[in-house]
């Protein structure tokens, strides 16, 4: 693939055709490709390659399996409000099997899957959504009489690549929460290897799309961490890119929902935000295409750590995150100290009262002492009973 500038693609035949096919302006399409390339941190020129690949290459066949899940991943992909995205998902890829989106049903659907697998043997992309029950020979999830375990193994055998989408397929997700009655396992665990995965509940559709387009463009999946997560999306802690990070560093925390700090947008760490131990790009790419602050922490809810095994659906929402580096103290010294108040009216009145009582008491005492003790006869103990004030 020759390196070229994205501006040169403007009158590319494929792009003109794409414009007609999708009803998307070329400008908008090229912007999307640039954004995806930037999201993945790809070098300059990659955006042009991606645009060309999407515009001209044969769309890869995609088989999308659903197991133990809520279909939230698919829903979030479809509900993405970016004007051209849902069309692109369906156009960039040839979605040959997807239970939610299929018009076909029953044996017809299963036949379509087998046909696609045969036609694109070794080239199709297998997407797994949902955890796979393994307990009791996998009987807790069956499709067309076939257990999820068997179906996954069958489809994975001839796939060009397997991608797990969502936390369930990535690491077990919510179905694997203790006591895990169905033995829900991730796709990687069932296949016995680390597979690229896009965890999240639901994951950000752009992370998935970027990964697919990377595969389409370069023929391989993007660089991943040891858990198989693309580094461009899961390379950093949420905490590191969080818009509330400055509040954390300054020691300003919301202490309970609805308190002053919460209303002012302070750090949610003390409400149990798992951002400090969760790797994801949520604060950078946000959710739902509605703009500023449209992600859990942005709306005032602590991160639940949905992308992290052992945190999402495992650790209580209110439990404090384990910080990877610095743990904040219970309180910080204030920068500006109160310099003290002058005398209050009460304190002044009290002081005056004490002084008055002391003076009065002393005067009375002195008067009586003088009366009863003449210097000549100091042994005359004639004293009047009398209350006196203490000084």
């Amino acid at each position: 693939m020759k390196k070229q500038k994205i501006e040169m693609l403007e009158n590319h035949d494929g792009l003109v055709a794409l414009e007609k096919r999708l009803g998307v302006s070329r400008r908008e399409f090229l912007q999307l490709c640039s954004a995806m390339a930037a999201t993945m941190g790809l070098p300059s020129g990659a955006e042009a390659a991606m645009a060309e690949a999407v515009a001209t290459k044969k769309r890869p066949s995609v088989i999308w399996l659903h197991f133990q899940e809520c279909t939230g991943c698919t829903e979030s992909m479809l509900r993405a409000e970016h004007p051209t995205l849902e069309k692109l998902i369906l156009d960039v890829i040839s979605l040959d099997y997807h239970e939610t989106l299929f018009a076909a049903a029953g044996h017809q659907a299963e036949a379509a899957r087998r046909d696609a697998m045969k036609a694109n043997k070794g080239k199709y992309l297998l997407v797994v959504e949902g955890a796979i029950p393994t307990k009791d020979k996998g009987i807790y999830c069956k499709i067309g009489g076939q257990t999820a375990v068997d179906m996954l193994k069958e489809c994975a055998a001839d796939a060009g690549a397997v991608i797990a989408i969502g936390s369930c397929a990535s690491w077990g997700g919510m179905p694997s929460t203790n006591p895990n009655p169905t033995g829900a396992s991730s796709a990687g665990e069932v296949l016995g290897k680390v597979i690229p995965n896009i965890p999240g509940c639901p994951p950000n559709p752009y992370n998935f799309l970027s990964t697919v387009v990377h595969y389409l463009t370069f023929g391989k999946l993007p660089e991943v961490d040891k858990l198989g997560r693309p580094l461009f999306a899961y390379g950093r802690l949420i905490h590191d890119n969080c818009e509330r990070r400055a509040h954390f560093d300054a020691g300003r925390f919301a202490m309970e929902f609805g308190d002053e700090g919460h209303r002012k947008g302070y750090c949610l760490y003390k409400l149990g935000c798992k951002g400090p131990e969760t790797y994801a790009n949520c604060p950078a790419v946000l959710f739902g295409d509605v703009g500023n602050a449209s992600w859990p922490v942005g709306t005032g809810h602590p991160c639940i750590g949905c992308t992290e095994k052992g945190i999402g659906f495992a650790k209580p929402i209110h439990a404090l995150a384990d910080l990877k580096n610095i743990v904040p103290p219970l309180s910080f010294p204030r920068i500006v100290e109160e310099q003290g108040k002058g005398a209050s009216i009460g304190a002044l009145a009290l002081t005056a009262a004490i002084a008055g009582a002391a003076a009065g008491g002393a005067a009375m005492l002195a008067k009586n002492l003088g009366k009863s003790h003449c210097p000549e006869n100091s042994d005359a103990p004639a004293k009047q009973p009398e209350e006196r004030a203490e000084s």
Partner: protein, 383 residues
């Protein structure tokens, strides 16, 4: 402690529950409620102290002034046992009792004022203590003196509970304890002044001098005389007992001499440092300096003639003036004359004042209860 020339001390007896003791107990109870709040919610919840004025009246009054007012035992012990003036012996026990309360409560007040009071034990623990600190000297010295005073005072308990053997054994070593009882206050009463020397330029020149330890020690001694006279007048009035005028007159003479010496040192020091001019400035500090000095000079004027020293009223007023003078010297040097930077203010809050009042009430209440219960005041009929 026994002395054949004087009537033996005896319990006063009488009712313990009177309007006066009930009021005193109520005031002490209020103080304890406030202290409860302080220990749960912190110093800031009840006091007005801040980073500029870290010591409020709980230190300046309860500790600095409280311990100075408790110097009666020190002065009397010095007089009787060091200068061998046996005629003052009947004054020792009552003075010691007042001192005992004063110091014990001063020691307790330090803990009220410690922000991290749970670390109090650090100052007595070799690995933690900062042995080069003036505060360390004051803390250890005051603590030691409180223990020494309780031992010094213990014959009163031993007599009451009939532990004659123990008292006999104690009497053999009591001279050591008494020696300590004179040495220790000399050390820490001067160190309370040294604390201020450490404050440096933050203390107004009218008070900041390298002579502060001496000034604090001399005023502590004169206050010791004054408080004995003051307490004698109070207890004679309160318990309707005759005044021991023959002793008080002599005491007042000693008091005026020490006071005159103090004033000489004070004024010479001001002159040598070239600080005399500050007292003529139109400032708050100068005003309170004049109040302080007037109170120091007043007893000299009141008791100038030997005949005046025979009049109980004059003696009482003179002693009161001297107590107030010592009070003002400490308030002035620690609070009025202290300037730690622009913008800082301090005036005690109502709860702070109520705690100090409660401590004083507790002191008087304890004194009343113990003189009625233990052999402290000399038997009346023999005078």
């Amino acid at each position: 402690m026994s002395n054949a020339h004087h009537p033996a001390p005896a319990p006063l007896g009488g009712k313990l529950v009177t309007p006066a003791t009930v009021i005193l107990a109520a005031l002490a109870a209020i103080a304890f409620i406030i202290l409860g709040i302080r220990f749960v919610f912190g110093l800031g919840s009840v006091t007005n102290i801040n980073d500029g004025y870290t010591w409020g009246i709980w230190v300046v009054y309860d500790v600095m002034i409280g311990s100075a007012f408790a110097c009666g035992g020190y002065t009397m012990a010095m007089l009787v046992y060091i200068f061998n003036k046996g005629e003052y012996h009947p004054m020792v026990r009552p003075a010691l009792l007042a001192s005992l309360f004063g110091y014990t409560l001063a020691g307790a007040s330090v803990i009220f004022d410690l922000g991290r009071y749970w670390n109090t034990w650090h100052m007595f623990w070799p690995g933690y203590a900062q042995v080069n600190s003036v505060m360390f000297e004051v803390a250890v010295c005051i603590t030691a003196y409180i223990v020494v005073m309780w031992i010094e005072f213990s014959p009163a308990f031993l007599e009451k509970f009939g532990l004659k053997d123990l008292k006999k054994k104690l009497n053999k070593v009591l001279f050591l304890i008494i020696a300590l009882g004179v040495l220790l206050p000399s050390m820490h009463q001067s160190s309370l002044g040294s604390l201020l020397v450490v404050f440096g330029y933050q203390v107004h020149p009218l008070w900041q001098t390298i002579m502060l330890p001496l000034l604090y020690l001399m005023t502590a001694v004169t206050i010791g005389f004054a408080i004995v006279i003051f307490e004698a007048c109070l207890s004679s009035s309160g318990f309707k007992r005759p005044l021991e005028m023959h002793i008080l007159t002599k005491l007042s003479r000693l008091m005026t001499w020490v006071l005159a010496a103090y004033l000489a040192v004070r004024l010479i020091d001001l002159a040598v440092r070239g600080a005399l001019g500050y007292m003529f400035e139109a400032s708050v500090e100068a005003f309170w300096f004049w109040v302080e000095m007037a109170l120091f000079i007043a007893p000299l004027v009141l008791l100038a003639k030997p005949a005046d020293r025979m009049k109980p009223a004059k003696l009482f007023i003179a002693a009161l003036c001297l107590l107030l003078a010592g009070f003002m010297l400490r308030i002035n040097s620690y609070l009025v004359g202290l300037e730690t930077g622009p913008g800082w203010h301090y005036f005690p809050s109502v709860p702070e004042i109520m705690v100090s009042i409660g401590m004083i009430s507790l002191e008087i209440l304890g004194y009343i209860v113990l003189v009625r219960y233990l052999p402290i005041l000399p038997k009346e009929e023999t005078i």
